[in-house]
């Protein structure tokens, strides 16, 4: 059982958000973009802590459109989760029977699902924010009667317990006897009563021996017993000095983790190890908890939901990189926030969610494989769906049309035709147009797979970038960084990722990726056939020609080397080659020089980068396509 969809309205920085969640979902985005709000929304819908007087929901949790907005004005906060089977019959019978009163069945797919909505609005009569939880039917209307009984909510929560590990994981807290995992694990340990009695005897004996070891201990006890006399009770109490734990639980509760990094190093308590190890150990503590205690505390078919913030905290890049596979293997559903490009490097593209704050509140971009829109049912629609060969689905109860992959022209026109005479034709056509446009963002599994292979090196960082600058090769990669710096626009500082597309797949995929993730981008290609070909390959992906013209520049000359020579940089280029150890560079004729440059791309580029340092004039003489693009990158949206 896991959350497949999360819908949030009017919560903190979120105005309206629809988010698909996978087995593991990784949220990345700048600070204050709304990542924690998303995690909190999940925790709120799955727990009851919210809204209790003093501890829960406050006016600050209501999304405010502007500074004059009134948090008490309707409609208030709404958080909705849809928990759905991946395939019909996936959920065990026992679970389905137990949750019978709240489950819904998709009549076409046979899949079972549950929708729960938590909402919170100002209650004038009560004078506070009143939270409520209610299960919904397939049409997202509240279920009434027996389904609305509180018992069903408690029961549902038992099956989907949520756990939260914040970015600041304090080992002292997490391994305390009262902590959520460690404490409960210790309490669950079963000590045979025979052993317990024996322990008790040993403890008592030990205590006596210790007291006898120094007579002063006994005297101290005697002095302290004055306290009971002062308390003036009818009968004398007593004071004893206990030097060892009183009960076996006290002993157990003092249990602590000790570890050593190498076989012959000393054992040290966890608290004495580095922050990284401490932070990591808390995550593994969760795993131990789930494996040993979850079904005992919850139900046999319970599946945990883990809201995990920054698992990479304090970790070395190498460790952060391998962390993904450990986290992914954790039981249950994971929703993770991260700021680590190393961690992201191994996260599948479809699991990534880019969170950012816009004028419209928090927005999330991703690379979905399907796209949905709400449109009313008409009789003609059934035939179009039936004839789509499974690429389209329609959920009649929810009035939701889902397109898998791109919405091709023929079915798109057929859909439009269904509503040709509908009273709300204009509105519905608008919705379909929007669906069509969104489905253009589709990137196929094959392409994503090829990116997984080629672009692993850069994919960590590009998702954290604010803008992309797509160039052909590594020479360009090096040069544009240097140029931009000298031209007063440091690319790193401004969050611009330069993508040398040739080494990482092809430029068109990156353009499509950028569009899907709403990342502004520019590209500079060679003037030769290949360069023109890149522009065309981008156009083919449904980019309007004018857009391509504005975003993709090409050199006038065939390639960057020819362009630089044409730009009168021959002297500098010969020097750069020479510096790179190419002796022939000083004497080569024009044709031979070009040849040498093309054969020593990174060599001359690195030397040229050195020469550009502190030399804005030189940067200013570099190919115009680069300079113009760098100028455009400023403020590009």
């Amino acid at each position: 059982m896991r959350i497949s969809r999360l819908t949030i309205e009017n919560f903190r920085s979120i105005k309206a958000l629809d988010l698909d969640l996978n087995e593991t979902t990784v949220l990345i985005g700048p600070n204050n973009a709304g990542k924690t709000a998303i995690l909190d929304a999940i925790r709120i819908v799955l727990t009851r802590r919210w809204g209790q007087r003093g501890t829960g929901f406050a006016e600050y949790d209501v999304h405010l459109a502007d500074e004059n907005a009134d948090p008490k004005a309707p409609p208030g906060v709404s958080i909705e989760i849809r928990v759905e089977e991946q395939a019909a019959g996936e959920w065990p019978d026992a679970l389905q029977q137990d949750l019978d009163e709240i489950v819904q069945t998709d009549p076409t797919t046979g899949k079972t699902f549950i929708i729960l909505r938590a909402s919170c609005a100002w209650n004038e009569a009560e004078g506070n924010f009143e939270p409520s939880w209610i299960f919904l039917n397939a049409g997202r209307a509240p279920l009434v009667g027996g389904s609305a009984r509180r018992m069903n909510l408690e029961r549902f929560w038992q099956y989907l317990p949520v756990f939260y590990l914040g970015a600041l994981r304090d080992v002292d807290d997490e391994f305390s006897p009262r902590s959520q995992f460690w404490g409960r694990l210790l309490k669950a340990m079963e000590i045979p009563s025979a052993l317990e009695t024996k322990v008790q005897r040993v403890l008592d004996l030990l205590n006596r021996k210790l007291l006898q070891a120094d007579p002063r201990l006994g005297q101290i006890a005697g002095t302290l017993s004055g306290a009971t006399r002062v308390a003036a009770r009818d009968r004398d109490g007593g004071v004893d000095l206990r030097l060892v734990p009183l009960k076996s639980w006290d002993l157990l509760s003092k249990a602590e983790i000790i570890l050593r990094n190498e076989p012959d190093w000393p054992w040290l308590p966890l608290q004495r190890h580095g922050q990284g190890v401490q932070s990591l150990s808390v995550i593994f503590l969760f795993q131990a908890f789930v494996e040993h205690l979850l079904t005992e505390l919850y139900e046999a078919d319970s599946a945990p939901v883990l809201a995990l913030e920054e698992p990479e905290t304090h970790l070395h890049p190498q460790a952060a990189r391998t962390l993904w596979s450990h986290i992914n293997a954790l039981p249950g559903q994971k929703i993770i926030t991260t700021h680590s490009p190393y961690f992201v490097q191994h996260v599948p593209f479809r699991d990534l969610r880019l969170v950012r704050l816009t004028d419209n509140g928090t927005e999330v971009c991703s690379l979905p494989s399907s796209f949905s829109a709400r449109i009313p049912h008409v009789a003609d629609l059934d035939a179009v769906i039936a004839g789509s060969g499974g690429t389209m689905e329609y959920d009649r109860a929810a009035e939701l049309l889902t397109v898998h992959g791109k919405l091709e022209q023929a079915p798109y026109r057929a859909l439009l035709a269904c509503y040709g005479t509908h009273a709300d034709r204009a509105v519905i056509h608008g919705v379909l147009r929007d669906l069509h446009d969104r489905a253009l963002l589709y990137i196929s599994d094959d392409e994503l797979r090829s990116l997984e292979t080629f672009a692993r090196r850069i994919r960590g960082e590009i998702f954290f970038a604010r803008r992309w600058f797509i160039v052909e090769g590594q020479a360009e990669y090096l040069l544009v960084h240097a140029m931009a710096r000298e031209l007063g626009y440091d690319l790193d500082e401004h969050g611009v990722a330069v993508i040398d597309a040739q080494n990482n797949g092809n430029p068109a995929i990156f353009a499509a990726l950028a569009r899907a993730l709403s990342i502004p981008w520019l590209a500079v290609f060679d003037g030769d056939g290949a360069g023109q070909g890149y522009c065309r390959s981008i156009e083919v992906r449904d980019f309007p020609p004018a857009f391509v013209a504005a975003h993709c520049r090409t050199h006038v000359a065939d390639d960057i080397e020819a362009q630089m020579i044409a730009d009168g940089l021959e002297v500098e280029l010969r020097a750069a080659l020479t510096q790179a150890g190419v002796a022939a560079a000083t004497t080569a004729d024009a044709a031979a020089l070009l040849d040498l440059l093309r054969h020593h791309k990174t060599g001359y580029a690195a030397a040229l980068v050195d020469m550009m340092r502190g030399n804005a004039a030189l940067a200013g003489r570099m190919p115009q396509a680069f300079r113009d693009s760098i100028a455009d990158l400023r403020g590009l949206t």
Binding site: L95, D106, P107, A141
Partner: protein, 636 residues
């Protein structure tokens, strides 16, 4: 040793009962005669299944025909397996279908918060509006009965014309039906017949939803299966699909007395054909003295339409309070007037302590009215027991309407009921249309607009001001305390010098129903759920102490009394004139015989049969059933 109610009950079962209770997988048809302890078998079976599946989550479904039967079963199951009763879904066919439709009806376009119209007035209003909306003449009103019939038979509006080949106005009927259905849908309302029909439609259109009920409820029990009509049977059949067989049906083919409602021996035959159930018989009668059992056996042997291998009843009652000659008696009177008077006198003479355990049964309501008059003359408190769809007093009708309005603030039909009821007892004239337009103009809710209007109308010194002010505080969360305040106010009115008897009765009924509902659904039941339950239940209170109950034979189904008087055992009365018209071997005549069978087997100690030589001035022969029972010799 801790007293375990389930174990105690199981230990008391007879061998054959235990076999039924212990039945595992597969279909079973238990033929259970009257007084054979079938409720005990059903409840023990439910409890046993739950008890043995303590560590599992499956639920058990049990369907009955009356809320009373469902309530009793729930109570027993809760007593047997405390804490597990929540996994037993025990209810009437209608309430179960209501649940199904609230949870899954959206696939047919039915919203979860639909209202249920059970009263004819409501349904007439719906048809009236529907006809207007469809620009059809008001003469379509006469089709309401036909529409009901179509819905009971699960016939869709589009199939009406092909099904009613002999009706000249089939087209018009179909249109009226269609309009009625779409008006119901528009109002977000279902009537009683819709509940079964729509649930059937849901399961047959979307087998995945039927499958979900089979998964959650691996065991089904059907009480009084012989009363199942065609629609109810097809509902069960569709819900079961082709492979599900775990249906445990308890039936008595000798107690089919709802033929007019579609109950038929055919349903039992279909069940046997479709589910291939194992047949088990519970012939032992623990209720009636042996003489009655013998008479019942003799009587029913004249019927053909019954299970061939059916065993005769066996007398199993051991503690008999009365001497043998008192077990069956026959009284003969000259006229029906004298019959009523003498029976009333006889019962009066029994003394008040026996009145509540005495019932007078008759074939028709008219005969009961005559009895009621006779009892009044004899100064014996008596009441005709019957289902009551609505409360009698304007006050309680108004209170219920207020509650409904808080749950469905936009329900105009209910608003009309609310305003009308209050107008009546407060003696004011507030027009529904005025409240509606005021509400729309001011943008406030219907209910609060009406409160304001009514408060202004009655004036501050009115005796109804307190009631109105209390109603103004209504919201779903505060309903319980507001109702309590209202009831206190109404109690005061009902305890005055000249109380309105309707209000007195309604208050008693309200207390009874609400405590029943709370007992079976918990005290934290939501207002909405409470109102749904209220809607489904009869609004008649139980008879007071020392009151004789008068019932039609149909109403007596499932009941038992120490002293049973069955009057009118004459040809044309029981059996009825209509059944005699159909012929001596007609199914109708067989049903009359079953009516007689059901009636006499209600008696725990004594059965007094009576007849008169003339009814309404016409000479009538003794009932053939008297002859068949061996209590009279054939008249020459």
């Amino acid at each position: 040793m801790i007293d375990n109610p389930l174990e105690t009950a199981l230990a008391k079962l007879t061998e054959i009962q235990r076999q039924a209770v212990g039945w595992g997988e597969g279909a079973m048809l238990a033929l259970a005669g009257p007084g054979s302890g079938k409720t005990q078998v059903l409840t023990c079976r439910i409890a046993r299944l739950l008890d043995e599946g303590r560590d599992q989550s499956f639920r058990v479904l049990a369907l009955t025909f009356t809320n009373k039967a469902a309530d009793e079963m729930k109570e027993r199951v809760a007593n047997f397996v405390p804490g597990l009763e929540e996994r037993a879904n025990i209810g009437t066919f209608h309430s179960f279908c209501g649940q199904v439709l609230r949870q899954h009806g959206i696939h047919l376009g039915i919203k979860p918060d639909f209202a249920i119209y059970s009263q004819d007035d409501d349904r007439k209003a719906v048809l009236e509006d529907a006809l207007k909306r469809a620009d059809m003449g008001a003469d379509g009103m006469r089709y309401l009965g036909l529409i009901d019939r179509m819905k009971t038979l699960l016939i869709e509006p589009k199939d009406v014309v092909s099904r009613l080949t002999r009706a000249a106005d089939a087209q018009a009927i179909a249109q009226a039906y269609e309009a009625y259905e779409s008006e119901l849908r528009r109002l977000n309302v279902l009537d009683f017949n819709s509940l079964i029909f729509e649930a059937f439609r849901l399961f047959s259109t979307f087998p995945a939803i039927a499958a979900r009920y089979r998964r959650s409820y691996p065991y089904w029990l059907l009480d009084e299966f012989q009363d199942t009509n065609d629609g109810q049977y097809r509902l069960i059949r569709t819900m079961a699909g082709n492979d599900f067989k775990n249906v445990f049906a308890v039936a008595d083919d000798d107690q089919i007395i709802y033929q007019w409602n579609g109950a038929s021996f055919r349903q039992i035959q279909r069940f046997r054909a479709d589910f291939q159930p194992e047949l088990i018989q519970l012939p032992t009668n623990y209720r009636c003295p042996p003489a009655i059992v013998a008479a019942a056996n003799r009587l029913v042997a004249y019927n053909v339409q019954r299970t061939e291998t059916k065993k005769p009843l066996v007398a199993g009652k051991t503690d008999l309070k009365l001497p043998e000659q008192d077990h069956i008696q026959l009284r003969v009177f000259e006229t029906d007037e004298i019959e009523a008077e003498e029976i009333a006198e006889e019962i009066a003479a029994r003394g008040r302590d026996q009145w509540s355990q005495t019932t007078v049964l008759a074939r028709t309501r008219a005969s009961l009215e005559k009895m009621l008059k006779a009892f009044q003359a004899a100064q014996v408190p008596a009441v005709i027991a019957q289902r009551r769809d609505d409360f009698l007093s304007a006050e309680i009708r108004w209170m219920v309407a207020c509650l409904v309005q808080t749950v469905r603030p936009l329900d105009r039909r209910n608003l009309a009921v609310l305003i009308d009821a209050f107008n009546r007892f407060a003696d004011i004239q507030i027009a529904v249309g005025q409240v509606l337009s005021d509400a729309e103009a001011s943008g406030s809710g219907y209910f609060s607009t009406w409160i304001t209007a009514a408060t202004g109308e009655i004036g501050a010194s009115s005796p109804h001001a307190r009631l109105l002010e209390t109603a103004g505080r209504l919201d779903p969360a505060s309903a319980k305390s507001v109702i309590d305040t209202m009831l206190t106010e109404l109690d005061a009115r009902a305890s005055g010098d000249d109380p309105d008897p309707d209000l007195v009765e309604d208050l008693a009924a309200w207390r009874e129903i609400s405590s029943d509902i709370r007992r079976h659904f918990g005290s934290i039941i939501s207002l909405d759920e409470f109102l749904q339950q209220l809607q489904l239940r009869s609004k008649a209170p139980s008879p007071q102490a020392h009151t004789v109950t008068l019932m039609t034979v149909h109403g007596a189904k499932g009941r038992e009394f120490d002293f049973v008087y069955l009057i009118g055992l004459a040809e044309d009365i029981l059996p009825s004139f209509q059944s005699r018209q159909k012929g001596d071997n007609s199914p109708e005549m067989e049903e009359e015989r079953r009516n007689c069978f059901v009636a006499i087997t209600r008696a725990k100690e004594s059965l007094i049969l009576s007849r008169a030589n003339s009814y309404r001035g016409w000479t009538k022969q003794p009932s053939r059933f008297l002859v068949e029972m061996g209590l009279a010799t054939p008249n020459s």
